[in-house]
Symmetry: C2
Subunit: 264 residues, 2 copies
Amino acid sequence: MTVQTLPESAKEVRQLIRTGQWRGITSGVAPGHVQANLAILPRDLAFDFLLFCQRNPKPCPLLEVIEPGKVEPVITAPGADIRTDVPAYRIYENGVFTGETESLVDYWRDDLVSFLLGCSFSFENAMVEAGIPLRHQELGLNVAMYITNIPTTPAGVFSGPTVVSMRPVKRDQIVRAVQVTSRFPATHGAPIHIGKPEDIGILDLDKPDFGDRVELLSDEEPVFWACGVTPQAVALSCKPPLMFAHGPGKMFITDQRDVDYAVL
Amino acid sequence: MTVQTLPESAKEVRQLIRTGQWRGITSGVAPGHVQANLAILPRDLAFDFLLFCQRNPKPCPLLEVIEPGKVEPVITAPGADIRTDVPAYRIYENGVFTGETESLVDYWRDDLVSFLLGCSFSFENAMVEAGIPLRHQELGLNVAMYITNIPTTPAGVFSGPTVVSMRPVKRDQIVRAVQVTSRFPATHGAPIHIGKPEDIGILDLDKPDFGDRVELLSDEEPVFWACGVTPQAVALSCKPPLMFAHGPGKMFITDQRDVDYAVL
């Protein structure tokens, strides 16, 4: 089954995932719906992590937090089950990746707290609609991501550098790119740097820390946005005894629409 | 010492409070600085309360959360001490008001978590600067506040109705009032209702649940904003064994400026 034949309804797509009929990359799936990064942590780390997200809303924009032991995202996707409705899950034990699974049912515990965090798809859609092309999408690449020298604001046991994604933007479209992405603070929002990678500790734009290298043309500036990899990297760096996350590119699809999160 | 002779620096005002030289109402003090509502709760309620604020950002806009046992608001007022730098504190035991104190030093415990929440002074300043008069200020009254039928989104043990404040706005200034207050989401932001008190469960505008009655003229509509009384009322309704709050009208004055919190 290809992306093209998937239903447009987020609920129906989640049903296909839950029943094992589809487990692909979610980019472009259920167009217009907000997709979420997932991090699941034991309750004794949950206060610190929630506070970390509160203090670092640009890299860690919280869409919903599901209370300890509960599995239904009642705010963003009533009826969904966070244990079964993501195409793939990654398992981390003591901060180390130990495997993937298609369901968390057998792993579930009463003390697990699920964090759903905004991802860049919403503002990328807004950019494309505003006529600002995205080279990585056009070339079928992953966005280029870099570890910066911009510290996050620590909270409890959690601290670490901000990870950013980079998109080349033509100089005559930078203002518009700032405007359209500023409308989506819940999904990383406005850029955090424009123009000089060295200023934020990126020494070689051709060597991203994650994702693919994306070429920069002479009439473009590199524009950097806070990236949802940040909370995952920060969470893992404190080596939690158990943590689950979504598989790369395989996000949780909510019932909410990009436009629901637009300010102004 | 009157308000007029107070220093303009937030830090200097806090020093006068800490040393017992001034303990007045903070409205109009250290102009342009963001002031905060205060709620202090034991750690075992802190995750639920933090989640409650995350789910209800309009009535509960978090400016800073100070970690368990710590007393310095390192983000909004480095060097300050949350136990001594508020003009008056209210003590609640099992949800019941049991007294006021000028210092929390003798009450402090290692498990106490301090929540600083945005207050309406920032957007009120923006309204006045935009030429929208505030009748309650002009008359020296407290703003009129009402318990509505708009439920907050519950989190853990916390739930309850949204409390709103009402300001009469001339019909030809309503658009501008929405615009200027929308710029301050961290301090309650845009109104949540305009025009018909009955629609949100307010049966008699002349009988506010808190604060003072404020007259509505024939060329005005009542405009309602989410109010910082909400988190305090909700916190108390679950009868926490211990809770501290600021004394009425006696807020914590941060080093940050209104403009730091303006979006766009």
